[in-house]
Symmetry: none
Subunit: 324 residues, 3 copies
């Protein structure tokens, strides 16, 4: 579809959140279709996890987004989908790869939303494809367990914060989950949640550096729990780390099912977003350093630095491999 | 994309206008891409006409719409696009043809919106394709000239109308044209206009028969004039004819460019929509007969009857041909 | 959240209606949450009234709206919420108070929409807070009864009106109430209604003075009756009064529940909006005087003048108080 002014920031760059939402919709369609192809009973595929995603080149208003999706692995209860997004300038015909994402879905019964169904196996053209898929499956399973433990932190508001501190740019957004945010099972589309997360992260980044900012990448996102229609969700973001030219923002989604008496507020999703600041010509700008004050902030900064260096090392390894 | 509650009426049937909007977006993308492929200068394809379209089977919430578009003819200054819409139930895998539409686009220069550019010719696999396309081109050209003369009528409001009269169900809607309604050239997408036209026609039909109604077909729509960003558009609908099981509604679109002082309000588009009334089981219901009061209403009723009988005869001829 | 192009007019000023919608969403969340905190049964807070609201400074595209809400009084069956909106320019860091609003909500049972539940009392830090709240409660109750009687007028269309007459700028808009306009109880969010009312008032104001216009204030709005999903609502606006630099527009909302046979069309909401005309530099411009023709128009003009002078006097008294 054609990108509209509402999909983009003032400088005309399409929000990362809009792209994540399109990716998730494509993933949900292909995996729901697959899981119903040999179905015991009708089901809907629910997003369980999105792997780390890089935004390779910004998309602009007026360009057409071409989204293609393919199922690359199936375990007994989950489906791995690979989605590619190309931006196409229909005036010049130029096409660019914007985004490559890997998503994991789980089929839930249409009759009983708590019942996970079995996934029909796919055919692999080569044995290695299955083995590699299995390895990815095991890795993400382990990572999901770990994140679950990291959760539970809360963002406290700060009065009169100094510029460039964590408290200065932290932000949160409250949203009442309505019918058009939801799937057939009346819980929120993963893509809707990701779009709101990107919106909060973008506000945090813009408050910190006061320039035009764009999403550079999103760390793996785990969807721990479903969010039901009628919940109030709070999406909170705080900056955790800055390198010379990038900012890392941690985003939490907490759901408050206030109509369901016994249920307490719970952490539904969390993730790290990386943003860069762009000049008017689209070149990356230096970013003001994040001032850490408390012990926790210093610890999170170091952890962020660890993730940053790890990603950098991985990318250099890939480039060397590609160059050989 | 997946059909959402917002795309549908209370009974879960997707609005004809939503489908028309998707069709037009697909048509605009493919024809803009084609017209820029050998371009002297960058251009945007603007919708000039939509041929008569039948809604073959209703689409429902939760189904996926698959839209495919193909260029079938090019004249010197216009492109004919054929768009097919399939509805797919991803739970059962069932697919149905919802809609087949033919649209005509004209390339307008990005630098000068009033300059119509030349269209690169397409290659035909068979000579007959070109000849048939040329015939369709000449026919629609003639029809466009005729409609231009038919225009200019205004809908006068009626105080305390009787049920089932024309005045009883006539409705109008005003809309302020915002940025996300518009193309790169800052005039309204044809699809946005068609969606609003279907919305008014649906309200007229529902007021008349007070049941669940769905779009059955849309007559050829001609886009006489562009509508610019910032205009207020008034979309008015009145019932012109009822058969036993269908209603014909005439819809006008008038644009009021109130920020451009010298320009008067003008007629931008007009068309006839046909609606049917459905029972809870999805079967067509009888429709209350339209009560005509004035001479003009009686004349329009007879004209509507003429169109109805002509369409009926054409369909029977096609079925006989198909049966042979 | 960040203000987008669709939230604003062509000059980039965010529509008053968009701000009213955000205010109402915040109010609905905080009061629904409060009413469910010690609930006999689950409920949803429905908007009953919005007190007079001034738009202190325009908000622009790209700015972030910070909305904060607090419960300031509870009666047995209603909740008073105070909502503040700050606009923040995240590039400069500048913050401005845009709006302060007071809203009244009533908790309706989720099982039976016609049953009003009891509100858990709040704790006041000082006795005067409770007394002042009670006074505000009594005042608004009285005012609501009065407005109910004032209602019932209809806007008659005028053929070929002269510029600057009432008939020249009067406008109306119909809207079919869809799922995303509605709360969990399937009636329209108050904020959605207010946004449509502001849209009509804005079109009336723009037609009258043909310049860039913005909402300056909204009179108290009473929500007399709920509007159900599937209704067609007609929102009509007519100018009632002009001062040198402001226009007062009366807006009615009538609901037509055409699928519920026995129910007649009814008046659901009415209010007065005040608009000002702005130059390109954002300075208030003189407004063409409204030409009144009929006795009713002259009477309404005088009534509007009364409201204008009263508000002016009140504001001057406040400024003197503040200066002391």
């Amino acid at each position: 579809r054609i990108m509209r002014p509402d999909d983009a920031n003032i400088a005309g760059n399409v929000h990362g959140g809009t792209i994540l939402k399109m990716i998730e919709e494509a993933g949900a369609i292909i995996s729901t279709r697959h899981c119903n192809s040999q179905a015991e009973e009708p089901c809907v595929a629910a997003l369980a996890r999105v792997e780390r995603t890089d935004f390779l080149s910004p998309m602009c208003i007026g360009e057409v987004a071409n989204v293609s999706a393919e199922i690359t692995y199936t375990s007994r209860h989950s489906v791995e989908v690979q989605v590619n997004v190309m931006s196409e300038n229909i005036l010049t015909g130029a096409k660019k790869l914007t985004n490559k994402a890997t998503l994991w879905y789980v089929p839930l019964s249409l009759k009983n939303v708590n019942k996970v169904l079995e996934v029909p196996p796919i055919q692999y053209t080569r044995k290695e494809q299955e083995d590699e898929g299995k390895k990815r499956y095991e890795e993400q399973k382990l990572d999901r367990l770990e994140t679950k433990q990291r959760n539970g932190e809360v963002i406290f508001p700060v009065i009169n914060p100094e510029p460039h501190t964590v408290g200065y740019s932290q932000s949160s957004l409250i949203h009442l989950v309505g019918p058009s945010d939801c799937t057939l099972l009346d819980f929120v589309h993963g893509g809707v949640t990701m779009k709101l997360m990107d919106e909060v992260a973008g506000i945090v980044a813009a408050r910190h550096c006061k320039t035009n900012i764009v999403t550079a990448s999103v760390d793996a996102i785990n969807f721990h729990e479903k969010i039901k229609k009628g919940c109030v969700i709070t999406i909170s973001g705080r900056m955790t780390f800055t390198s010379n030219k990038s900012m890392e923002i941690e985003v939490f989604v907490d759901a408050d099912p206030f109509l369901d008496e016994p249920r307490e507020r719970y952490r539904a999703v969390s993730a790290f977003f990386t943003y860069v600041s762009l000049s008017k010509e689209g070149k990356p700008l230096p970013v003001p350093q994040l001032l850490t004050e408390t012990e926790d902030e210093k610890r999170r900064f170091e952890e962020g630095k660890g993730r940053y260096l790890q990603t950098k090392a991985k990318r250099q390894a890939q480039m060397q491999q590609a160059a050989q």
